[in-house]
């Protein structure tokens, strides 16, 4: 020790070294790092399991789609060749059957490459819809199956570890930055050295923060890069960078809070109490209160009202197409009537009625459904603004949008699905109305689903402004702490 001469920068490095040695020797740092490593590992495992499950579902759905398509074209071939006995509801030459029961079309949304970083809404919102001519009310409100108790508890994913647990570990390491020195009687001794309190505190924070970040940031990213090849693109690397910046800024701002609290000159216990109180308010109370506020300011329309309107619309369309619904039905006794003649086929009037009635129902309740989506977007905008009140909300929003499991992406999926559903109906509408039989060519030209990813620039912007805001917050708090520590006596 005595070989070192006190130069400005080397004082800091001396403190860093000294702190590191103490923290390693008294095992606190080791314990905290082990806890963090375990939690990060477990959170990542949970996220990866969920992402894999979702990947598998999309793959299965696509496989099912492929199989149905093959089966349909085989069946159609034999129907056109007159080799198969016809079953009214499963005749692929019949456009109404093709649009409904036989349709093997799905709208799917793939996982974003970094999905394992946060589960977000993905345990609740569906990542595929089966597309038929059914009304939106009948298929758009299916949700993923999950035990409601577990939805209520929430998942132990990486976002939880970062948003909830990381600040607590920061508190554990930082609540007594200066107060412990004072209580041990060593602060007086330190102050007698050519050393400012600001430098002392900076050194202490650097060691602790580097130790936490050395686990929280590289572990998940390296694991992702190793086992998920789709995470290796340039765009993903930029996202990972923003993720790292966000986590670092969030950690730094909690350390800055700890430093600021320490400069007040209270006892360690009081400091711990203040830190926990701040954590409770910012991470627990504000988000649930804001959730309540968002619901009050911009409430979702009534679902009961939707049920009522659906009933009225269904009744009206049943009445409108009553003649079609109650027409004679001779196809069971006379299957010949279902044969394709000159590329024409008799679409059973009941089936035509189903198609038209569902379309009518959707047209009638469309405005109300739109209102639901608009209101959700409105709520999301409100959340964006309110999240400025709590770093936990801010970071949580950003983490889920990096993982692509935020409400916005699911809403975009729902939007695109609705458009595709419309396209699907429009494709079949003239065929059903004009009794045009499906041909082999038609079968290969059915509308295809393409998921259009949300624009990268939009996501990047929404993440970076949050990261920058967090950094700004951290530097303001840190600056305050440093200024206070240099101006005031803290003995």
């Amino acid at each position: 020790m005595k070989t070192m001469q006190p130069r400005p920068l080397s004082t800091l490095s001396l403190i860093v070294l000294h702190e590191a040695r103490i923290l390693v020797r008294d095992r606190t740092l080791l314990l905290v790092c082990c806890v963090l490593a375990l939690m990060v590992g477990y959170g990542l495992f949970v996220g990866l399991a969920q992402a894999t499950l979702r990947d598998r579902m999309v793959a299965q759905v696509l496989k099912h789609q492929q199989e149905t398509q093959t089966a349909n074209s085989g069946m159609l071939q034999s129907v056109l060749a007159g080799q198969t006995a016809l079953i009214p509801f499963s005749n692929p030459a019949n456009p109404a059957a093709m649009a409904g029961t036989l349709s093997g079309r799905y709208a799917t949304m793939p996982n974003a490459p970094l999905a394992a970083l946060a589960i977000g809404q993905s345990d609740m919102m569906p990542n595929y819809y089966r597309i038929t001519y059914l009304s939106k009310v009948q298929f758009m409100y299916d949700t993923e199956i999950e035990n409601p108790w577990n939805l209520l508890s929430g998942h132990f994913d990486l976002a939880f570890v970062i948003v909830f647990v990381l600040p607590l570990l920061v508190t554990t390491l930082g609540y007594n930055l200066l107060s412990a020195e004072r209580e041990h009687g060593t602060l007086r001794m330190l102050c007698s050295q050519p050393l400012s309190i600001a430098t002392l505190m900076t050194g202490k924070v650097i060691v602790r923060m580097l130790a936490l970040l050395a686990i929280a940031i590289p572990v998940p990213l390296v694991v992702l890069l190793l086992i998920r090849p789709e995470a290796r693109g340039a765009e993903q690397l930029v996202l990972m960078l923003s993720w790292s910046a966000l986590v670092a800024a969030y950690t730094l701002s909690w350390f800055a809070v700890a430093a600021l609290v320490n400069t007040v000159g209270l006892s360690s216990s009081t400091n711990a109490l203040i830190m926990v109180a701040l954590w409770t308010i910012l991470v627990l109370i504000l988000p649930v209160t804001m959730n309540l506020a968002v619901g009050l300011v911009s409430p979702a329309p009534s679902r009961t009202e939707l049920a009522n309107r659906t009933r009225v619309a269904t009744a009206e369309s049943l009445r409108e197409y009553e003649d079609l619904y109650s027409a004679d039905y001779r196809y069971a006794s006379d299957p010949e009537a279902l044969l394709v003649k000159n590329e024409r086929i008799e679409v059973p009037s009941r089936m035509r009625a189903f198609f038209l009635a569902k379309q009518k129902v959707d047209e009638r309740i469309e405005p109300l459904l739109k209102h639901f989506d608009q209101q959700l977007l409105q709520q999301q905008k409100l959340v964006d603004r309110l999240s400025l009140l709590s770093p936990a909300m801010l970071v949580n929003e950003a983490l889920t949008s990096i993982a692509g499991t935020d409400s916005r992406r699911f809403l975009a999926f729902k939007d695109q699905t609705e458009a595709f559903h419309k396209e699907w109906r429009q494709y079949f509408s003239p065929r059903i109305l004009e009794s045009r039989a499906m041909t082999m060519r038609d079968l290969s030209s059915l509308p295809r689903w393409h998921w259009i990813e949300m624009p990268g620039s939009e996501i990047r912007w929404s993440i970076w402004w949050r990261a920058i805001l967090m950094l700004a917050l951290a530097s303001v708090l840190g600056g305050l702490a440093l200024a206070r520590s240099s101006r005031r006596s803290i003995e």
């Binding site: 477990y42 598998r56 006995a85 079953i87 509801f89 977000g120 809404q121 609740m124 569906p126 009310v137 409100y141 299916d142 949700t143 199956i145 409601p148 108790w149 939805l151 209520l152 508890s153 929430g154 998942h155 132990f156 939880f160 554990t172 006892s267 360690s268 216990s269 711990a272 109490l273 926990v276 409770t280 109370i285 988000p287 649930v288 209160t289 804001m290 959730n291 309540l292 619901g295 009534s302 009961t304 939707l306 049920a307 009522n308 659906t310 009933r311 009225v312 269904t314 619904y325 109650s326 004679d328 039905y329 069971a332 299957p335 009941r350 959700l376 709520q379 959340v383 909300m393 409400s407």
Partner: protein
Amino acid sequence: MFAIIAAKDLRVLTRDGRLLWAGGLVVILMLVALAAGWNRQVQLNSERSAGQALDYDAWLHQGYRHPHDAAEQGMHVFKPEPSLAVFDPGIGPFVGSTVWLQAHRQSEVKFRPAQDATGLQRFGELSPAWLLQVLLPLLIIVIGFNSVSDERERGTLRQLLSLGAPARSLLYGKAAALASCVGILIAPVGLAFAVLIVARLPAGERVDVVYRIAWLAAGYGLYLGFFVFLTLAVSALARSSRTSLVLLLGFWVAATLIAPRTASEATNLLHPTPSRLDFDNQLAHDVADAGRKAWSTHFGARTPWDPSVPLSKWGAALKVDDEAGYGALDENFGRLWDTFERQQRAQEWVGLVAPVVALRGFSMGLAGTDFSQHRDFSTAAEAQRRKIQNIVSEDLIEHADRLGNAHFTYKAGPELWATVPQFKYELPSVSFALAHHWASLALLAVMFCLSVALAQFALSRPLMR
């Protein structure tokens, strides 16, 4: 001696800023939560009962129509909100409340409020139950962590012991002081709320709700009592106030925040929930299987709706087809719901280290917002659907099957619609909830006794170390 200690401690606590600030915040949040929940419930209940009545009225007056088309329009039924949902919404935000009873489809309860909310919903729902489960233990810790250790550090413990104060009086006096602080905060609000709720109810439902409130009070009493004695025990055992605080906060974080999530992840591994796709595929497969068997035994047909079955048998065929599916539906949904219940039962064991898990289940159960009561409603709704379906099929066999190819020209009238009874669902009674959740209550009682024993042990050791 007991009373003197309690009175002195209570005075110290009320003069301390911690209780004033933290307690004030809790009371304000409690009032906000109650007001919001109340407002929501009044609105929902009036909307739903109006919706239900309108829906049945529309069913009765739907005019002349083919019965199968009537079943297509179907009926909507709404889950009534139990009155204590204001106190604990339970799984409410994550399960739906509306069922559209239609032909051919197992009615699923739809429209989860969480679907109409942003990701913020996942931070939790501000409810009185949440406050009592999560924030009040923290409050107890914050005001009580130094109740013994501080006396030791200041040297007043030595004086107290020199006066001959027995350890038992010291323990119960301090416990009484802590408990009364909590009591002062929640009792007035709780009492006012209970009176308001009970007064609003029709006389027939009052007794049930009063029982529920009493059981809830017992459950929360045990839970908060556990934290009171644990805090005192740790405060007496720890070397310093600082250690006591760090230990207690660590326990609180682990037990109320981390344990519930870990428990639900762990039980998910133990009893995996199927994905929707797997579930749907299995269900479709089983229904189709059952259908094929039924069609071949009843009509000798290879496939359902085989052309060999004439239209004059479609009413009968519909009945056969539907009834064949019932078994598969019951089995598949039963299996899924059993999985959910098994997951929850497995989690209750976590209550041995984290009492909040046991309390949460108990609280939801008694408030009427847990899964078993949701399941009860879903089953009742499905029974109603089957009732409609059976009435429709019988009527088709009797009238439409005679018409041959003109099957679908048949139209039934108001007499038939009136034979379908209105859907009347009564929430299960308190004994239903207790039968499902007595184990959680027992667990809470055990935890409470353990904490008392620990505190007694801690204070019976030589206190001056």
